[in-house]
Amino acid sequence: MKRFAVFVVVMFVLFGAMSHVLAQEAKVVSVNQFVEHPALDAVLKGFQDQLRESGFQLEYRVHNAQANMATANLIAQQIVGEKPDLVLAIATPSAQAMAQTVKKNPQMQKTPILFSAVTDPLSAGLVDDLEKPGANITGTSDLTPMDRHLELIRELHPEMKALGVIYNSGEANSRALADLLKVETAKVGITLEEATVARSSDVFQAAKSLVNKVQAVYVPTDNTVVSAFEALAKVCHENKLPLYAADVDSVPRGAVAALGFDYYEHGRQTGAMAARIFQGADPATTPVETQKDLELHLNLPAAEIMGVTIPEAMLQRAGKIHE
């Protein structure tokens, strides 16, 4: 009983210390981000920059689940109490946690919720229809234009017979992208060799398994593989195996080229959507957007090491060249 009394006192003191009066003048934006990750951090920064430049005075409550689903749900519940004017959910698990919280807390049904960095909002159950989301949830999807990525690789390797892809079979996004790539490669008669990993430390071994089997390797926007990109680049450099990425941030890390998915721009696009909603747009009729402009990034030293000759025309149209 004494222990219990002490526990109550300790908790009471903690509650007192932590509850703070919130200034309610500025609009409040609560953020439920799933994990610290350069791409996801860039989304948040782009979102905030875009809204600041549009002249909005906002107060942010940023939460990060540190890759824990249970914490993502606690954060969702926490956000209900923050009574925000808008919620930003970054990555699929956080977006799903927010969507479920809306269902359980009817007072949240009027709060606009924007998701970002979600590849497939339909199969994640977030929206009923990409054009007409139907409820208070909409956002931007980072679905890769796979046909254009494959086109880029084929432009540099017209003789390619087999393409390798490395991804984490446990990431819903990556699995969807690999399936998409399979459809696209089958259309042009290229064999797709898949190497799957379960954690970042498996990437080195998976890369080795592709050597001598394929003429080029492609990495989708996969959190696990991208975080161990250097290990992959090392294997590809040593074996003269040309490496291509789906996001431009991986180009300076050792990929030959990427047809730019830029997460910072992705965040800005979500921010512009938030601005329209603050000005009165209805999320239920705001269509889910994908990235419009793709920028070509090239890495010349990497191309040389991996034996890829880049034609002059491609150099001309590149948005950024790493020397």
């Binding site: 219990f4 300790v10 540190q66 914490t71 606690l74 699929t92 994640a124 446990g170």
Partner: protein, 294 residues
């Protein structure tokens, strides 16, 4: 910390508490460090989510998950007792195998339950908001499991489980087959963990193959927090302490989330550090009290 955040912590504490009761069974009763739970929690989630998407009643889906978890635990017990693999390694092997199995069960890494009928809808139909319905439901379920466990540990089989953990040589000389006890005990523990996973998936609207990461860490932390704060004497006290420990642990995370002390503001990435510090505080509170306020 807001009212919603506190309710959220209690809700998560209760639903993960069922997992903690499972971890208590292996870790304290059987003295068997079992990492299978990182795989059996998403297994339960996967089985129930897939069952629901095939139109199975959400309550029936919970029991399918229970059965799947029981089998997973029995595999670990079998590897340990019959094949002589060290308990830690046996459980790690089952855990990593379950990663692939879970993806097969879901034919993909994630199954969404948003917009599907779950056990919560039954309560929400009476007009209760979801965040209240979930707490009522999880309280009923976790308390029923506490009652079941206390009864179970007083049965002859339960007593031989306690003895297997305490003194295997003594209980073998009494004519009890410790192999059977371990296989069934680890099975029962993982059945509870998978059951908890199934409820979690229905509560959060999705099953995901990565949702099990860190389950054992949360489970062990909750059991030990519960023991330290509420004491260990007797089966009833220990079981209730494990459940309360789970609620305390989630409350610590919720507190860490809502922290913003004066001018010194934590960044979101400090969450795990603050959680750890709060748990240290909760664990040392009795000691500090004894030292300074005797």
């Amino acid at each position: 910390m807001s009212w919603y955040a506190l309710l959220g912590a209690v809700e998560q504490g209760l639903v993960y508490g069922i997992m903690v009761l499972g971890v208590y069974l292996t870790f304290r009763v059987l003295n068997f460090p079992d990492l299978t739970v990182d795989g059996s929690l998403p297994l339960g989630a996967a089985v129930s989510a897939v069952a629901i998407s095939f139109g199975v009643n959400p309550f029936a889906a919970l029991f399918l998950a229970l059965g799947a978890g029981f089998l997973a635990g029995m595999v670990t017990g079998f590897l340990n007792t019959k094949l002589g693999i060290l308990h830690l390694l046996a459980s790690i092997l089952t855990m990593i195998a379950l990663y692939s199995i879970n993806i097969r069960v879901m034919s993909g890494p994630n199954v969404s339950l948003l917009g599907r009928n779950t056990v919560l809808d039954l309560f929400m139909r009476f007009g209760l908001p979801g965040y209240v319905a979930s707490i009522i439901l999880f309280t009923i379920i976790s308390l029923s499991i506490v009652v079941f466990l206390v009864w179970f540990l007083h049965t002859e089989f339960g007593q031989s489980m306690l003895a297997t953990g305490d003194n295997p040589r003594m209980i073998t000389s009494q004519g009890v087959n410790t192999h059977t006890v371990i296989i069934l005990g680890v099975g029962l523990s993982n059945a509870l963990v998978a059951f908890s996973g199934a409820l979690i998936a229905q509560n959060q609207g999705a099953a995901d193959v990565n949702m099990g990461v860190g389950t054992i860490v949360a489970g062990l932390a909750s059991v030990i927090v519960g023991e330290t704060v509420f004491g260990r004497g007797g089966v009833l006290r220990a079981v209730v302490a494990a459940l309360l420990g789970s609620i305390l642990y989630r409350t610590a995370i919720a507190l860490a989330l809502s922290m913003k002390l004066g001018a010194f503001s934590f960044t979101p990435s400090d969450l795990n550090l603050i959680t750890a510090l709060l748990v240290v505080l909760a664990l040392t509170a009795p000691r500090i009290k004894a030292r300074f306020f005797p």
